[in-house]
Symmetry: C2
Subunit: 244 residues, 2 copies
């Protein structure tokens, strides 16, 4: 496990060069592993927050359920992500975590962040920045969800996933296997499965994307991004103010 650089290290190393002690702290977070099945619920809203989870393999999403049973999907997680940063301030989970493929997670307790807080100010600053970025991306989705039409909302979501995958897979990626069904896509952007189906149909007819089985292929994603005023929040992180 130590020989192959982990997704989390790869993800974090994009932004700062981790020195030996910092890399060791990150490695601690990935020490344990646990396997989960597709559709398995990792943790439910209201559960005591025992652990955060680094994603080693698989896709997951966080969600909340409304009183009438409808669901809001908050964010989709892929390998290299850390799930649960937003629970740092709460004793009880604010959201559900659900697998949408088989997955391997590395659970670690909140207290595992203490070494970083006490001895690795640069790493802590990065953690703070990444938490801030999640916030910005949530705002982006909210802006899209509440102000764009169904077609552009779907496109926004698909482009956001693309830009995330480009960080850890390939910066020119233009296709990916999407393990969410249309009901789930709709839950992420405030639409029904029916509206998602119609929106994707329209995007396909206008040549914006094509589908190959469950794989989404974005045609000229750069043009699509401009068209709907998409901001790629993954491109870079401002590290100029970090300590050291």
């Amino acid at each position: 496990m130590a020989s192959e650089p982990s997704c989390l290290v790869k993800n974090l190393s994009q932004y700062i060069d981790l020195d030996e002690s910092e890399e060791e702290i990150v490695a601690t977070l990935e020490r344990d592993e646990r396997e989960f099945d597709n559709k398995q619920v990792v943790r439910s809203r209201g559960d005591r927050v025992e652990h955060l989870h680094a994603v080693k393999t698989g896709w997951l999403f966080t969600s909340t359920t409304l009183p009438d049973g409808r669901r809001q999907i908050i964010r989709v997680y892929v390998p290299g992500d850390v799930i649960g940063l937003c629970d740092l301030g709460y004793r009880f989970a604010t959201h559900d975590i659900t697998c949408c493929t088989d997955a391997v997670l590395c659970p670690f307790p909140k207290t595992a962040l203490r070494p970083a807080l006490s001895d690795a100010p640069r790493l802590t600053a990065l953690l703070l920045s990444l938490t801030a970025r999640e916030q910005v991306m949530t705002v982006d989705m909210q802006r899209a969800s509440s102000r764009m039409n169904a077609r552009d909302r779907v496109l926004y979501l698909l482009l956001q996933m693309l830009s995330r995958l480009r960080v850890t897979i390939d910066e020119n990626l233009d296709r990916y296997d999407l393990p969410l069904n249309q009901t789930q896509l709709g839950d992420a952007i405030g639409l029904t499965n029916v509206s998602v189906s119609k929106a994707i149909g329209e995007l396909e007819r206008t040549g914006c994307l094509s589908r190959e089985g469950t794989t989404i292929v974005l045609n000229e994603p750069a043009a699509s991004m401009r068209k709907i005023d998409f901001s790629d929040r993954y491109e870079h992180v401002d590290t100029s103010w970090f300590p050291d």
Copy 2:
């Protein structure tokens, strides 16, 4: 200035007891002051992020504008809040900051956080938790905006403001002067001013709230909160994992 405890200190002290050195670090953040007029734009999207801002007096909001000119209001800030945590990771501002009353802000550079990061792990952990909380509250609003009807969306927004004000004013507060017009309220929850007007009218008729000039009076806010599944994210912060 040092004699009267600042709003920021008061806000942070809710959650941890600040020792002398920690309080000194926080005081550094509030050393400078700058006055702004109602409607003044403190900083625009795309501007270089020179400073974060602690709010000393007044109300402000952050927003983004869509290509077609419509606006999404992201969050409303009141005395004791820190504006700009979500810009920590970016060199250029992701949002506009606008005053909705006359205001006094304490600008401080991102680098002013270095002492906290290096020497005040508990304070840093709190900062991280508060950033995470902003994230959770943004998700709450998104959930409300994309899944609730106009009436409940407006109520959710008004209740969120109430629960924020209860932190620094009075925990039993049931009314406040709201310096946002209906267009701005709509921009915060994805509605037009017309829909907001109709929603408020309905809330008033059903006895949920009443208006006295620009003051909003919430009747039985606890019942309203239950009715629309409102979560008060300000109530407490999990500090059990903090260092020391």
